[in-house]
Symmetry: C5
Subunit: 302 residues, 5 copies
Amino acid sequence: MLLKKNIPIGYIFGKIKYQVLFVTVYGVAIEVIYQNYHITNITIPITVTSVLGTIISLLLAFRSNQAYDRWWEARIVWGAIVNDSRTFARQVISLMDDSFQPLALDAFKQRMINRQIAWCYALGKGLRKEDPMSIVRKHLSEEDFEYIKEFDTKHVGLMQLHARDLNNALKQGWINAYQQVEIDRTVTRLCDAMGKCERIKNTVFPATYSLYIHLALNFFVLLLPFALVDLFGFLMVPVLVVTTSFFFLIEKMAIHLQDPFENKPTDTPMLTISSNIERDLKQMTKDHYEPSPQHAGKFYVL
Amino acid sequence: MLLKKNIPIGYIFGKIKYQVLFVTVYGVAIEVIYQNYHITNITIPITVTSVLGTIISLLLAFRSNQAYDRWWEARIVWGAIVNDSRTFARQVISLMDDSFQPLALDAFKQRMINRQIAWCYALGKGLRKEDPMSIVRKHLSEEDFEYIKEFDTKHVGLMQLHARDLNNALKQGWINAYQQVEIDRTVTRLCDAMGKCERIKNTVFPATYSLYIHLALNFFVLLLPFALVDLFGFLMVPVLVVTTSFFFLIEKMAIHLQDPFENKPTDTPMLTISSNIERDLKQMTKDHYEPSPQHAGKFYVL
Amino acid sequence: MLLKKNIPIGYIFGKIKYQVLFVTVYGVAIEVIYQNYHITNITIPITVTSVLGTIISLLLAFRSNQAYDRWWEARIVWGAIVNDSRTFARQVISLMDDSFQPLALDAFKQRMINRQIAWCYALGKGLRKEDPMSIVRKHLSEEDFEYIKEFDTKHVGLMQLHARDLNNALKQGWINAYQQVEIDRTVTRLCDAMGKCERIKNTVFPATYSLYIHLALNFFVLLLPFALVDLFGFLMVPVLVVTTSFFFLIEKMAIHLQDPFENKPTDTPMLTISSNIERDLKQMTKDHYEPSPQHAGKFYVL
Amino acid sequence: MLLKKNIPIGYIFGKIKYQVLFVTVYGVAIEVIYQNYHITNITIPITVTSVLGTIISLLLAFRSNQAYDRWWEARIVWGAIVNDSRTFARQVISLMDDSFQPLALDAFKQRMINRQIAWCYALGKGLRKEDPMSIVRKHLSEEDFEYIKEFDTKHVGLMQLHARDLNNALKQGWINAYQQVEIDRTVTRLCDAMGKCERIKNTVFPATYSLYIHLALNFFVLLLPFALVDLFGFLMVPVLVVTTSFFFLIEKMAIHLQDPFENKPTDTPMLTISSNIERDLKQMTKDHYEPSPQHAGKFYVL
Amino acid sequence: MLLKKNIPIGYIFGKIKYQVLFVTVYGVAIEVIYQNYHITNITIPITVTSVLGTIISLLLAFRSNQAYDRWWEARIVWGAIVNDSRTFARQVISLMDDSFQPLALDAFKQRMINRQIAWCYALGKGLRKEDPMSIVRKHLSEEDFEYIKEFDTKHVGLMQLHARDLNNALKQGWINAYQQVEIDRTVTRLCDAMGKCERIKNTVFPATYSLYIHLALNFFVLLLPFALVDLFGFLMVPVLVVTTSFFFLIEKMAIHLQDPFENKPTDTPMLTISSNIERDLKQMTKDHYEPSPQHAGKFYVL
């Protein structure tokens, strides 16, 4: 997630530097040809390009809106993961009870809650196609860590362990069937959140939609200098560059927003959220919380 | 689902090749008439067509948005099928218990979960009006396979079997009434997903809406050359072709997005999703998973 | 619901034939006056009407969107009725049990499920203000049929009978209190769907909204010829007619979409959906299903 | 809620009569100055105002959409009140049981259901800041009526009585703890609906949003005559009046839609809906229903 | 929340006073240069800026819409807090029961409900990064107050106490496991609301989106005078100032709406809502309610 401040100019314009370069050269070239060789019949009325511009910006606006919705949905899903992780911890703490072996139960609760923390990190790393094992190791028991080694997706393996342990808790008499189902519902919600993240990650934004707008935008950029050429003289070049940059930037922004799990500065800040979950859950169990090194750049958090 | 890369030019423009051909011929003809016979009073001001163009692109933008929503809803439904299939498997594994006949119960669980895999394939194939029997056979017991033969829609028959088996599990004492209802809720959610797919499949996008936009667009294309004819000379033809192609492509894209179960490259990738469900469920039961041949073309997955 | 194919020209344009006629006469008259009497100062710049046209088409586009949302909501509600009818049948079949009087219970289940079929037809007919008694008779027992005669809205009476019978089933010991509540929830969802249909049926789309757009559109149509009069000569008339027809058609479409229970070809196809529910529920009870005569015209289904 | 028919002209234009009057005088004045004193350099190009017009109508369209969403949400909430009132009555009738004191229980059920009817009226009246006591009296027992006298908001007091009586029913053994919770959920949904109405009632639509659009619209109206002054001559005045009226009407409509509980003709028809709830609930208890005098004007229902 | 009336001019324009000042000076300067030095070739056609204006207002309109959605979501969350606080109180009052130690239970209920009031204030203050301890003290027991001192976020600590007390109530036999789970669900919903507020608070609106629109708007403002310079003479300056002010105001409004927990007049009125919750909950427990000093300015409530 980009922060409000300190976004460097380089980051903003770095993404479109080749386009800007091309448009500058292209604009200058056309102006030179127009001025020097007096080929004035290449101008076209601004109205033609204005129609095209309106249509493209209309589709671009709708498309930004859809990209924004994906981004916001991703954030809502991670907000739900925060809520359900807390709910899970609260239910584990307050619904499970045993007067005979309190110590065993306490260790069991601790293991469940730490595993929930590990699950958040594993999901975040997994969605970014990074290896979660190093960050996950310190929250898991040795046995759990071995168990998930064989899994392709570590977070799926961790959920398996949750379900198995809930079953054990029922057999131990720490919860009754009714409470098992209640906690199982929380686990179901966490699985749903996991599935929603995977859906957003794996569903390509309609490729034709992106492509047609991209092609039309480029065609528009090619036409535009012919409409501006007789209006400004060489001042046309900065106007051209600024205007087309604006279109390119809006398009790029939509592309970044629509894929929020790609290890980019515009990502949903999954590691930061996971750190917060870790802090909250540790506080609930009166466990020591050692802030991990910040998952942040100068102008964004991951 | 189209992938991001490798979409061949042929696929993109193949869909509108007749329109492009017609527009080219039509544009050239008008230019020739205009140039050779000096019938210059056929030109119309660009403003007239620009008004029409704005209106059409406004409606087209809204319509693309609605088509996108249908497509996204279809994807959300299949995301929910993934989640609920996993939840179903987890509940079958962890809620059912029997100390006396563990082997019978294990076989029973295996059969339930394999049937769930079969259901996903059957639904995917069924929505595309293809025969699911060949792909379904290897996940079903002989008896189940015979049972669903008589059904028109195989996935409805499979759900029947789920319900019947849950009933048997209750009678066998493997689950109590409370747990039966809990698993029944998951079955209900799967049925709801099935019903939602059928709703999207069977509901024609308002025909008049599509038709009026289509007619207006064609009328616009017929008018456009008269507005461009005196602006560009023969350069008018490529500008005309590119501009109208853009409109035709956006319209076609909306038509493809709004019907996501038609066995086209833009479909919801139901078979790929079903394969993933198979992989996950097999892994949960420690069953051997043999990847099926990919349901994919070069630039899309089905 | 209109089908994709075979929509007759007469249906499409029949709805606006008086408007088209008026616009034609009006356009010709103005052209004649303009041409013959040389009253050329009545022309207005196309820009004025283009501004008005943009605004109207913007509001028309939003309004079509809201009408579409109503139509789609109606379809979603009927999709939920399909799902909940199936769920209801599944729960009646699989949750109710009695080892002592299986025959009485079977007859009871059959009656419940047939009544559910009758309820769907009754709701569909009732929303269209038609008499449902003839179609409902063959799915109801004599006693039930008598009972609902006194009700204004037959579907409300049928729901009463469902609730009464669930109560009896509890007293008979066929279900326990827990299962009663579970089935009662399905009945609640069906009642909610019923209420949502009534809400859409009874809520007039904001009358002022429709009216203002309608007035502005008519004003725009009155102005438009003055803007086109000096551009095309008599060619102006077809351009005028096609353009205004487009606006009128979009307005009409929105009006039809926003009221989906009016016994028109654009309706939600409630009878066809009810037939499908009948088929599915009969198949679940192994009952004989005799397809009823299709509720369809040549180019639409009701 | 405005009905489809019979909306008097006076109602439509009465709301903007001062604006129309001002615009007429203002337009005539400018035209006179322009014509008589030949101050022709006050004209501005129509393009300037057309840009402003586009922007304002864009914001106005979005704003109407948001106002429409509020209005529709209010209607959905009252639709949910209808559904949950029926569900409440059905649950009270069918879940409560007592073989020993059926008469006491019947009186109790009657009192609960009548109180639910009273609650609907009280909520409707309360949201409109009217005194509900007269309409509520005939549905309440003497004791209940005394109890709510001391409450500021009568509908909150009535909900308290519901909760207290459910508690008593549990103590009397008329329902078990499980059924109490089930009915309590219905009461919770009714409370949620109440809270949602209060939210819509008490949340001012962002004041700055309304204000800026209002100011910009007025500025636009002040500019517009200068753009039209040399186009039409004195015909400019009707064109000006009609165009600006359209803008004013759309703005007024949005203002009315966004506040649906203000005792205006555009309100959600809460009293009519409450009457329907009364009719349905009376019919469920075979109680006599005497239609109350219609809560309706000639062209609207309240 | 801004009220409808009494918004001072100073507040409205104070936010953009530097922009207005700059635009005025800038406009005058260009006009002076244009008039005095006859550098007339700096004018650009209004169409160029009109295209840019359309695009910017389109994106601004969508962006206002998204900001509005955030603001409305924040309000919905606080509406849900009102509902769930009432539900929590009703459940605490009516579900907990003990015939043996009614006094202890009454004190316990009182403590729970007062803590719920404190939670609302603490959440409101916490979201605004203010210290809630002074306002929270009078609703908490000494013991509770000490307990939360060590917490970073007081509202999280209060929820912990709720969960602990529910656990104690179960052990005391005041509620059964089933009722515990039911109240726990209400606590879960309150936690979800808390998490949603934090999500809205902590999620920066896509920074690039805001930034690009902001840059484009400034570029547009720099260009605009060159388009207006030869149209109005010195009258151009007020037209320029009003038009650009309108754009700046819409942008500022979107910025304020999108962050509703910033201790600004446009905030969600969390303290006022909390006061209302206090009043309602005190009335439910027949406790004395002393209205706190209004959390309001002249034209807004906090």
